[in-house]
């Protein structure tokens, strides 16, 4: 097990920059998830740590040792690929033992380690099968088995669950988390699925456009997003945004929504009077059927029951937004409903999208 230090990493393909100076310290035994939309550079960063992509500039250290110019085989890391990348012409046992055989490990040791990993992953009855005779979930397990037999310094996961169906994904997610608890191995996990990021990570690294947007624990990112991107990306259904103008008058303030409604705010935010800003609120914080002076009338567009709760699509002025409620009374809702946006749950973002 080892720490991984990434400092000022840049990557360009020709003149096209993909990563713009990434700094990240991953502690020994930590489970870090790189999350972001397609093309944000998360997979590129992972592949650079693995040694599959050259580093344009900056430095990667594994266990204190600079690895920029080391071949993948000399970095002592294991990786689980999205496609599993199982060797089609080898049995499960051969797939799992390949790395040990390359390292000329004694046969008895290989046998015991592979058997141990197989038992841990429930692969015992499948050891002589070829990958093509396995289901998606079994292949995924073999790919993990191949990684754990080596006891590497770190595990890298490149969207390992994206090829599985929803139920299996949920199950494997839990297995990966359990495996991490058992092994305590330093892990870097790339995904575009924010649920995976939230459930698995000790720390999430949210990336966008080749830049790290925010690093923090899942709940930090959820409760206190650093900017509009993180606020919108983390959480499902995503955070609602209302554009408008921030008005300050003495000790109180208000927010004039673009649609015309004005939201009184008891305390002041760190925004200049009259500046354009964005207000954000998570759907579950929107109060439906509210009463009182700060309730506003919103038009009900659509009601989506999810079983667990209800997602209500609403329009306020001309701005569409969503509310999430567990209260089944709202299932048959039509026409208009009074809503309230509770001030403690509001997030304000300045014109540049930064949280204030």
């Amino acid at each position: 097990m080892a720490s991984i230090d990434i400092s000022a990493i840049r990557k360009s393909y020709g003149i096209l920059p993909v990563l713009h100076g990434i700094d990240l310290e991953i502690r020994d035994g930590e489970f870090v998830v790189l999350v972001g939309p397609s093309g944000c550079g998360k997979s590129t960063l992972l592949r650079m740590i693995a040694g599959l992509e050259a580093v344009t500039s900056g430095e990667i250290r594994i266990d204190g040792k600079r690895v920029n110019d080391l071949a993948p085989k000399d970095r002592d890391i294991a990786m689980v690929f999205q496609s599993y990348a199982l060797y089609p012409h080898m049995s499960v046992a051969k797939n799992m033992s390949y790395s040990l055989r390359l390292r000329k490990t004694p046969a008895e040791k290989i046998a015991s380690v592979v058997a141990g990993a197989a038992t841990k992953l429930g692969l015992d009855p499948l050891m002589e099968r070829r990958p093509r005779a396995l289901s998606g979930g079994q292949r995924q397990r073999v790919a993990m088995g191949r990684a754990i037999v080596r006891e590497p310094k770190a595990f890298l996961f490149d969207e390992p669950l994206s090829n599985l169906d929803a139920r299996l994904r949920e199950q494997m997610r839990a297995e990966i988390k359990k495996l991490h608890q058992d092994l305590g191995a330093t892990s870097i996990y790339v995904t575009h699925d924010q649920i995976e990021a939230m459930t698995l990570a000790d720390r999430i690294v949210a990336m966008h456009g080749g830049i790290v947007q925010q690093v923090g624990s899942p709940l930090e990112l959820y409760d206190n997003p650093a900017n509009l991107f993180v606020a919108g990306f983390i959480g499902s259904p995503g955070m609602n945004f209302f554009e408008g103008r921030y008005m300050r008058s003495g000790e109180t303030a208000s927010f004039a929504l673009t649609g015309g409604a004005v939201l009184p705010l008891p305390s002041t935010a760190n925004l200049p009077d009259g500046s354009r800003a964005t207000l954000g609120i998570r759907p579950e914080h929107v109060i439906l059927g509210a009463e009182g002076p700060d309730a506003m009338l919103a038009k009900v567009d659509l009601v989506e029951p999810t079983g667990f709760g209800i997602i209500v699509h609403l329009t306020l002025g001309s701005v569409a937004f969503k509310a999430f409620t567990l209260d089944r009374r709202f299932l048959g809702m039509q026409g208009e409903v009074a809503v309230r946006l509770p001030v403690p749950n509001l997030h304000f973002f300045d014109e540049a999208g930064r949280k204030v």
Partner: protein, 277 residues
């Protein structure tokens, strides 16, 4: 409805049968003439099968002609060409499939360019080049020329097979502890066996039946390959069809054996890339 379907089925089978008959008829004729005794060759008129068969032509070809020498030469030339071309084309195809390097575009363009010239144009210059090197009238010279001509196409063929193998596999191997070359040898190459078989088969047949260069570069009987040897049955005043056909039948044997051996891979190989494999 069912009547219509049966009709369509029959028509389909009939069309395939007609095609197979059309394609195999020359081979049948080859066999027929080869077992027809000389006496009956011209006297019986056109018959589907001679009234009496004999193996006298085969006996003559094997015992009293130079054909065994031609046969051996052809086997050496085609076998060596197939092995050398496939080995080089595998490496080159892998490089073209996996690596980006300076001048890649031009190398590919150049290789395509070599495929555009009619070979007849190249006979004289190649003879002129090989002659001072002592490579005319030698099997080595032939192997060299065949290898040069077959490599571009074989390289493209192999490249397409490598393109069909996900890059993840060798990356996984490299992370598992292999060098790129070990990953190529232990992971990628075994998966390319169908492609290798297809390339071997293609190059072998091309070299086996090549006539033009063999005819131009080889003068004596010692280094002649069998297509040239077949011409030795054509004398100034007559053509010995029976013996020529017998030699032809014998020449078919290694090609048939070879394809029998690789056909399992070949079917996979020629359809690879059509579906995700």
């Amino acid at each position: 409805m069912t009547g219509k379907r049966i009709l369509a089925f029959l028509a389909h089978r009939l069309a395939i049968f007609a095609y197979v008959v059309f394609a195999l008829f020359p081979l049948y004729w080859l066999l027929k003439v080869s077992v027809t005794p000389n006496k009956l060759l011209y006297s019986e008129g056109i018959r589907m099968w001679p009234s009496r068969t004999s193996f006298e032509h085969f006996e003559f070809v094997l015992r009293h002609s130079d054909f065994p020498v031609f046969f051996k030469n052809s086997l050496i030339v085609s076998g060596s060409t197939a092995v050398i071309v496939t080995a080089l084309a595998s490496l080159a195809g892998y490089a073209l499939s996996r690596f980006g390097f300076r001048g890649k575009y031009w190398i590919v363009a150049l290789m395509l360019l070599t495929q555009m010239f009619p070979l007849v144009m190249l006979v004289a210059p190649i003879f002129k080049m090989l002659s001072p090197l002592g490579l005319t009238n030698s099997l080595t010279g032939l192997i060299l020329v065949y290898t040069a001509f077959n490599i571009p196409f074989a390289t493209f063929l192999m490249q397409s097979f490598f393109d069909g193998i996900p890059k993840d596999l060798e990356e996984a191997a490299m992370i598992d502890g292999a060098t790129q070359f070990v990953a190529f040898r232990q992971i990628i190459l075994p998966l390319t066996l169908p492609g290798i078989a297809a390339t071997l088969g293609f190059v072998f047949t091309a070299a086996w039946s090549e006539l033009l260069f063999s005819l131009m570069l080889i003068s004596g009987n010692d280094a002649a390959t069998f297509p040239v040897g077949l011409l030795s049955f054509v004398s100034k005043f007559s053509v010995d069809f029976g013996q020529m056909m017998a030699a032809g039948v014998l020449a078919l044997i290694p090609a048939c054996l070879f394809f029998l051996l690789i056909q399992r891979y070949l079917v996979q190989g020629l359809t690879a890339g059509a579906v995700k494999g």
